[in-house]
């Protein structure tokens, strides 16, 4: 068995792992620049790689850790090149004999030539042979070496189609005779599917997926793989764990919001348990799982659509239709012409399309360098930010103290929060206080340093709860900063929260792909702070005074981007004496009560 692991930062970036069993044909498939030829040359020993292992059966040809590098001429490799690479000054026979191992006589070369019907051509020079004949000589030369590994580098792409077909047969015949691993490089998917037992999809020097061709086509690991194996209809969406509210499904239900934002359409799918909740995904569906009907039979995932194109090619008709959902996606499917006629499908007929949940295959979005660049720009965009800081709590379980005035290493939590805001470039902070308005005012006045502009507002009736404080803070904020880009709703008693956490959260808000809210969630615990966009901020203020932010979020789940994180700073607050002890244990810092 061949085992290869090739890692290199430059000049050609490589990060690939693949295996090839004895007797197996592995196709390395990828666009140009994906590093497939480099991989092959590395296997042959023609391209030194910085790091990795190449092992064939028990023989190590390359091991960077042990400093082993067997040169190309000592590896028993047969290689066939795209442009034949026959030696022009030697005849066909001489070309083949050149590759014979020392102990093997010329008869072996004769036998090979006989098998490949080359005997009549043995005394011809390469310039006197046709493309197909040259490649047969090259194939024979590769086998003459009695290799332990056969490498084919785009071996069939330089010849015309009929010749290629004969060469395919030739290769299949030779494979029956000699059981060795064969690694083939090709950009032709059909060729790879026809000849290979398994495919390894490469992109930008990386191996993305390794599996039998059918499996890769039916369930590509990610969107880039789907694109590379030529799947046309690839859609985007967001994956959610758990069923669509009010619907029952089995076995493990999941849902897919097809499209983005308010236009998204919910689909029922099967959760294979591989993706976290709210993952941005691409999805595909195999043709056999799409059902076209004239009537809605009330099955799950049935969507109305209108036929936009019908193209008949003999027995097969390609039907294209547009779904009647907000973002009007298109899909096409090949049906038998007979079925199309039976169902009386015509251009512009209204139909129903059922997408069988079992056939919907979702994949996490592959972030290519372009997307990363776009994300970077979004992350670096400067926004007009404002904070509503809630410090109305009375610290009842800590013995009625203003928690925000707890001192950690000599600084109050309030001062720490204000410093974080200042470091993030936040200019405005509305502090909603309760019973301790007076002491908090004193404290703020005592802070002399460059901090955001602080506006105090008192929620006298703190019994109404946090929601009313939030509403109050927002209303005040709208008088000071009518059009912020985003509003952060912060709690005063999160002692671990620092500028790095806040920055992370803001960045998450900037790069989110859906929703107007972002809040952190650690495991299943909802964290704080919550960020809302300026748009929703204005919308909530326009609604009745009873509308709370939490209420708005609950009624608009599609607007909420839940950020799954392991950072416990977002959920840690100080409610009880135990929390204080825990905090001191965790950080080693001393807390002084006010």
């Amino acid at each position: 068995m061949l085992k290869a692991e090739l890692i290199q930062a430059g000049p050609i970036y490589l990060d690939m792992h693949f295996e090839c069993q004895v007797g197996e044909l592995l196709a390395l498939v990828g666009p140009s620049g994906s590093g497939k030829t480099s991989a092959l040359r590395a296997l042959a020993g023609l391209l030194p790689v910085t790091q990795g292992v190449i092992e064939l059966d028990q023989t190590v040809w390359f091991d960077s850790a042990k400093n082993i590098f067997v040169p190309a001429h000592d590896r028993l490799v047969g290689m066939v090149f795209q442009n034949y690479a026959l030696f022009p000054h030697l005849t066909a026979l001489q070309n083949i004999c050149l590759a014979l191992p020392d102990k093997v006589g010329q008869e072996y070369a004769y036998n090979l030539m006989e098998d490949m019907q080359l005997v009549d051509l043995q005394n011809r020079y390469p310039s006197e042979l046709s493309g197909g004949q040259r490649q047969r000589v090259a194939l024979a030369r590769a086998f003459a070496r009695q290799p332990k590994l056969l490498l084919l580098d785009e071996a069939f792409s330089a010849v015309d189609y009929p010749t290629r077909k004969t060469l395919y047969e030739e290769l299949i015949k030779l494979r029956e005779r000699i059981a060795i691993p064969i690694v083939m490089v090709t950009h032709d998917l059909r060729e790879a599917r026809l000849l290979s037992d398994r495919m390894c999809i490469l992109d930008q020097g990386q191996s993305l997926q390794q599996a039998p061709a059918e499996l890769i086509v039916s369930s590509p690991r990610n969107a880039r793989v789907a694109e590379l194996v030529g799947l046309n209809d690839i859609y985007s969406g967001t994956f959610f764990q758990g069923p669509i509210p009010g619907q029952k499904s089995d076995p493990k239900p999941g849902r897919l919001l097809w499209g983005q934002g308010v236009d998204a359409h919910p689909l029922e799918i099967i959760d294979k348990g591989r993706l976290p909740n709210q993952t941005e995904v691409k999805w595909v569906i195999a043709g056999e799982h799409i059902e076209l009907m004239r009537e809605d039979r009330g099955l799950a995932n049935t969507i109305a659509a209108r036929i936009s194109k019908i193209r008949q090619l003999g027995d097969i008709a390609t039907v294209q239709f547009i779904f009647s959902i907000a973002h009007r996606p298109r899909m096409q499917i090949d049906l038998s012409t007979r079925l199309v006629n039976d169902l009386e499908f015509q251009l512009h007929s209204d139909i129903y399309v059922r997408l069988d949940p079992r056939g919907i295959h979702i994949m996490p979005v592959y972030t290519n360098p372009m997307q990363k660049q776009a994300e970077k720009l979004r992350r670096e965009k400067s926004l007009n930010m404002a904070v509503v800081l809630l410090v109305a709590g009375e610290g009842a379980r800590l013995g009625n103290i203003p928690k925000v005035l707890l001192r950690v290493s000599g600084k109050t939590l309030l001062e720490r929060h204000l410093e974080s805001m200042s470091a993030l470039g936040i200019q405005t902070c509305v502090v909603v206080t309760g019973a301790y308005q007076a002491v908090i005012t004193q404290e703020i006045q005592a802070l002399s340093r460059q901090l955001p502009k602080v506006y105090l507002v008192q929620n006298i009736d703190s019994k109404k709860g946090q929601a009313s404080s939030v509403r109050m803070g927002l209303e005040h904020l709208s008088l000071i900063v009518p059009e912020p880009d985003l509003v952060i709703m912060m709690l005063g008693d999160q002692p671990l929260l620092d500028v790095a956490d806040l920055r992370q959260l803001v960045e998450r808000f900037k790069v989110r792909t859906h929703g107007q809210f972002v809040f952190p969630q650690v495991a299943d615990k909802r964290g704080n702070p919550v960020i809302m966009s300026g748009q929703v901020f204005r919308e909530i203020l326009l609604q009745s005074p009873e509308q709370t932010v939490r209420g708005y979020m609950d009624s608009h789940p599609e607007e909420v981007d839940i950020w799954q994180t392991h950072n416990e700073h977002f959920i840690f607050d100080m409610d009880t004496p135990e929390d204080l002890i825990m905090f001191q244990k965790k950080t080693g810092l001393v807390i002084e009560l006010p």
Partner: protein, 224 residues
């Protein structure tokens, strides 16, 4: 006709070629797959004699190899002979002058061998020496031939440097082209004419020969 000068010229030319061509092959073989600053530097310095005026080159050789020069004094102490104004001196001079003529065609020929063919040779199990012998030399044959012809022809025709370093000593440093100059100085135009014609004929025949050889290898190598 100064047969002694003719023999000397021919001997010098052959010796120069015999020494320079294998060196050129090894150097070109070494440099062909490299792309470092060393390669750039080496290539530039090896081509230098081509563009330098022969008198400038002759001057430096004279200074370097003269009995007061660094190399010359060292050689004198070692052997008791001086380099300048001896056959050894003009041999060294023509070796240096001919470096570009021997090196450039060979290097071009090596570079013209497709990388795939080298790779194929390696995967056929040929070690570097066998690769050079069985694949690269036959394929670079044309370049080696023309390098040899150019070196020989250029040595026979070299005048300035040889005169400066070797002077005009019969049987030692008087080559054919110097003999012609000598005859003209002595106003023996007939003698100069005969030798000039011989040189003309010789040059033409060697060039013709190399053309024919080249053509043969072109037909053979048509595949690539």
């Amino acid at each position: 006709m100064d047969w002694q000068a003719f023999r000397l010229s021919l001997f010098l030319a052959c010796l120069t070629a015999i020494i320079l061509i294998p060196m050129g092959i090894l150097l070109a073989h070494y440099l062909v797959r490299r792309s470092s600053w060393l390669k750039q530097f080496l290539e530039a310095s090896l081509t230098l004699p081509l563009v330098l005026p022969p008198t400038v080159l002759g001057y430096y050789l004279l200074v370097g190899f003269g009995n007061t020069g660094f190399l010359g004094s060292w050689f004198y102490e070692l052997t008791g002979n001086s380099i300048v104004f001896s056959f050894f001196g003009i041999l060294i001079a023509s070796l240096i002058v001919n470096i570009p003529f021997a090196f450039i065609p060979i290097q071009r020929a090596f570079e013209a061998i497709p990388i795939e063919l080298r790779d194929a040779a390696a995967t056929c199990g040929l070690n570097p020496l066998k690769r050079l012998w069985k694949i690269e030399l036959p394929l670079a044959w044309k370049g080696i031939c023309s390098a040899t012809v150019m070196t020989i022809a250029h040595t026979i025709g070299e005048f300035g440097v040889v005169l400066m370093v070797g002077g005009n000593i019969p049987g030692q440093t008087r080559t054919l082209s110097i003999a012609i100059y000598d005859r003209v100085q002595a106003l023996d135009m007939d003698g100069a004419g005969v030798m000039s014609f011989c040189l003309l004929l010789f040059s033409f025949v060697t060039l013709l020969l190399s053309q024919i050889l080249n053509r043969k290898s072109v037909v053979r190598g048509a595949a690539h």
